[in-house]
Amino acid sequence: MNSEIDKKPQAIHPHKFTLWVAMGSIVMMFAGLTSAYIVKKNQSSWLEFSLPIVFWYSTGVILLSSATIQLAAKSFKAREMRRYRTLITITALLGLTFLALQVWGFVNLEQNNIALTGSKSNSAASFLLVITGLHMLHVLGGVIAILIIFARAYVGRVKNYSSLPIEMAATYWHFVDVLWIYLFIFYNWIG
């Protein structure tokens, strides 16, 4: 009871900490959904089908974007603002590419007569749509966050050299990346 709290200088910024708790919360949501997937799969009339090939490409794209945002954060801290701007733009574009590829994957499935919604749909495909769609929403949130940070670099009278926003964006971006990898492995080999 006599431990003095004297760790203030190296303490994590509360906003960063909040982000980590929020990521824990998002994990619970996907844990709930993938558990439901497993429960459902073990019941009758589950449609087996293979994932569209394009999901492999989107996996590559999101992995690449994780690398670019990491480099962007690094250049921000080194004050190489030009490089930072290029990298963050590439990251945002890769994010949008990822989203487009996912949509393409869904279109592919529909073309192969695997209905995602509607009366002919099987919950195997519907689950894929809902879980992947929710993940896409989280990626979209990341893209918007990046665009806001990007805009802030130009707009505003006061120059802000705090690396907190870009660090938080990078953490979140890695998180949605890892989340997709988990889902990808889950669809292919676990669920």
């Binding site: 009871m1 431990s3 003095e4 709290i5 004297d6 203030k8 200088p9 303490a11 994590i12 910024h13 509360p14 906003h15 900490f17 909040t18 708790v21 929020a22 824990g24 919360s25 998002i26 619970m28 949501m29 996907f30 844990a31 709930g32 959904l33 439901a36 429960v39 459902k40 019941q43 009758s44 009339s45 589950w46 919604t117 509607g118 009366s119 002919k120 749909s121 099987n122 919950s123 519907s126 689950f127 809902v130 929710l134």
Partner: protein, 603 residues
Amino acid sequence: MSNEAVLHASVGAHHEAHGDEHHEHHQDTFITKYVFSQDHKMIAKQFLITGMVWAVLGGLMSVLFRLQLGYPESTFPWLQDILGKWAEGGKITPAAYYALVTTHGTVLVFFVLTAGLSGTFANFLIPLQIGARDMASPFMNMLSYWFFFAASIIMLSSMFVETGPFSGGWTAYPPLSALGDASPGSKSGMDLWIISMALFVVSSLLGGLNYIATVLNMRTKGMSMTRLPLTIWALFFTAVLGVLSFPVLLSGFILLIFDRNFGTSFYLSDIFINGVGALPNEGGSAILFQHLFWFLGHPEVYIILLPAMGMVSEIMSVNSRKPIFGYMAMIGSLFAIAILAFLVWAHHMFVTGLNPLLGSVFVLLTLLIAVPSAIKVFNWLTTLWRGNVRFTPGMLFAIGFVSLFISGGLTGIWLGNSALDIHLHDTYFVIAHFHIVMGVASMFGMFAGIYHWFPKMYGRFMNNTLAYIHFWVTIAGAYMIFWPMHYQGLAGMPRRYYDFSVWESFKQFGELNQFISLVAMIVFAVQLLFLFNFFYSIFKGRRVTTLNPWGANTLEWTTPIRPGHGNWVGEIPEVHRWAYDYGKDGKEFISQDTPIGADESHH
């Protein structure tokens, strides 16, 4: 450092760099002070008053459906005047009855006892008791309230749509919740219900994230985790439960939305609706929704109960003038409850065809909750034991909480047995159990908190005489309403039925039902007395003249009588001891910010 950084970042330009002495907000307008406020204390009051509005509406609904249950043969022409077609000829229609019980449940569980209780006291007490100027993110905190407000408006509007609000029970089980054709209440009322609940989940998550980050990062110097008042520990575990369980509910809701609107078959299979015909949905499982719902649903009851437990611990110690008995045991039992909360959800589903072996595992885990619960009860009683008890209204409600928690907790041991549940499930026994242990007990915790911290909230006291009337009528009434329901439940009387007088076996309860309804109306009227006391005292109550009217140790009583945004004028006090040095070394109480004296005995 981080404390200052956050407050200044959010309040921004109003502040000078060394803002410690400048916490007057000269530029505050009516809008920034009372409406879009980022001050945790104002947000707490917003949660409280919105919660009160919902409590009145939800309570009124119970009075209305108790009218039907108590007087099934009578008609009340005035009902038609206020409810229109929902009470044709002065008698509540079956559709309206189901709408009333559903909305009563949803509103009381989520809007009153989650947002109104933990929203109010987590916001109010966390920064004040840990020594922080505000939450980790005051802006997110404000958003949390406004999401709740939007959810409230949408839920309220669902009561005015033509087909009525959702009426398939607060648990929203499919297929009633998933098929618009299933019942009138499943149409647009359910759409609004689900949008409202989704917004509510977002509100809870934003709030919960903030509470966790604040407790872990923003404590003042010297405030180690083991020096925190038990209120903060309880609110902390509440937030953890919310952050981990609400997302699962949201995922269940998302699947439900797809089933409702996009023709998927997550929850639906082989359904035939009268007048519509057979539905194409195949392969879905309604039980899946129950799993997702109760994975939140069970932690939810602790989200409701833990804040009350924390406040009761604090109020009981202050008003017994004794240290809380077993401080570490109290934290340990909160922790145990928080863990077990996630491992018992299937006890709500014993009769859904659950594998009996799996059921027995859930029985064991459920009964294990009795251990931490008993530890807490023991510690409350031993805190009272030989204490110098001051029977303030807050203290009375705290003692009332313990009484209700014991009574309601014991029936939990019955219901936790899957074998007994075959007979007891979906009867009035369940209604009695959860209303006492979760509903009324948590309301008592909330009342205790309001009476105790009202002086800090508004700088005035509430009227004691009215408070005593409020307490005695409410506790007597709560037992008179719910005690008889145990007997009804044991006799097999099912919940959610519209009219028992048509059953030969339940006719014998006609007069008992009348009695329960009568008491329910009296208890409801007394709550209006409490509301009058509350609002009257805000403006006309006796003024608080000393900083620390209760002689309490915690940090909120070191702030000015009416603290501004930022809470402390000058530096935040440093903490030197735990919160429970009452009656130590001949001193009545020693505030947490008092340094350890040279002649002090063991601490």
